[in-house]
Symmetry: C2
Subunit: 202 residues, 2 copies
DNA sequence: TCGTGGCTTTACCAATTGGTCAAAAAGTGA
DNA sequence: TCACTTTTTGACCAATTGGTAAAGCCACGA
């Protein structure tokens, strides 16, 4: 039995890897990949730089690890959209889940935005493997709802883009929004529900 | 007459400054501020690095110059929204102008997105001085349209955010969109017109 | 108590990067 | 053509940055 040693990583390993990834999420999401330095991550994590390189082989591995983890959580709300549920309810619930996620995980949203902005150099494989199939699948579902008259006629692909754009905007452009209307963004919920509700109803 | 010497910059100065800014727009919008290097900009501009520093005092000045120039063009479509025009027409025309701009100036859109994503460290003064007053002014206009029943009841601030988010999304997330549906995004026009049309009509 | 293996640190390195400087080259007007 | 200014360049520098090496530390089982 080669590769024997299923020995789980020790408690200290788990703790430190978690600390590093949490610190790295702060730094990467705030400054982008190139803008982040191992020293910043090390300081934020409360560890020395060589110590960080004991747990990860390099800066890139930390980044890739974060992106992989992110992809799972990121797709959850879309996965949950149920083809057998009530169309309008399902779509509006999806909008709400995405908005909640942007609010609860703004760092993840910005990490993702940074990566895509730069052309997704490190994430393209994940996108092709995970996001694309799911996107296509849900587009079919929505298009079917549209074709069978259960919602108003609509372009499913661009509808999803609009949902992504409007919800993630509150995390990615928070600096601008905060400057323009301050931190009180509760009205966003009602607004987005109204926006997408209005185009879905026949 | 102090500061005498209004001597316009020579033709060669204008040409080289333009080349540098154009190259820098490529590089900054693709890699972000920290990710861009003077060497990359120099090569893209076809000039040597010291030569670039003959025209600009440093990396930051190039970036700031780009952001200043950007701000003007960026606000134009919103400036053009006419308080005395037909409300629905005006708003839908604004959506279209923003979408056209995202398509024609994707580099500028990404430069802006990068800057805001990082918390607008170099742009906050411009935003406060130029964007905020214009935003507030147009919000009043839209809110008035809403209050007087010329369009459906709506939150003007979040409506503008949704317009920004959906239109700029096609430039900023182009890598993702291209991967999901390819480069054919003509359907975006009709979709966005329908989306915002539906929420504006009573 | 000792040794062993996992964890941490100190000291260091090579490459990259923003930027300088003085001298060469190229214009330019008289 | 010549003096003078503007533009360009090659050589160089200090700071930063990702990463390495090796020695030290520490917990724990025998």
């Amino acid at each position: 039995m080669p590769d024997a040693k299923p020995k789980k990583s020790s408690r200290i390993q788990q703790r430190n890897r978690y600390r590093i990834l949490d610190a790295a999420l702060d730094v990467f999401s705030a400054h982008g990949y190139r803008g982040a330095t191992l020293d910043q991550i090390a300081e934020a994590a409360g560890l020395s730089k060589p110590n960080i390189l004991y747990y990860f082989s390099g800066k890139e591995e930390i980044h890739v690890t974060l992106l992989s983890q992110l992809m799972e959580t990121w797709l959850d709300p879309l996965v949950d959209m149920d083809a057998s549920g009530d169309p309008v309810t399902e779509i509006l619930a999806y909008v709400q889940r995405k908005l909640d996620m942007a609010r609860e995980l703004p760092r993840e949203s910005r990490l993702f935005a940074n990566e895509i902005l730069q052309g997704a150099p490190r994430m393209r494989p994940h996108l092709t493997a995970d996001l694309k199939p799911l996107f296509d699948e849900k587009c079919v579902v929505i298009q079917e709802w549209s074709d069978t008259g259960k919602i108003a006629p609509i372009d499913a692909q661009h509808l999803i883009f609009s949902i992504w754009a409007t919800t993630q905007h509150y995390a990615d452009f928070a600096a601008q929004i905060d400057l323009l209307i301050g931190p009180n963004v509760e009205a966003a919920d009602a607004h987005l529900q109204a926006l997408f509700s209005s185009i879905l109803r026949k």
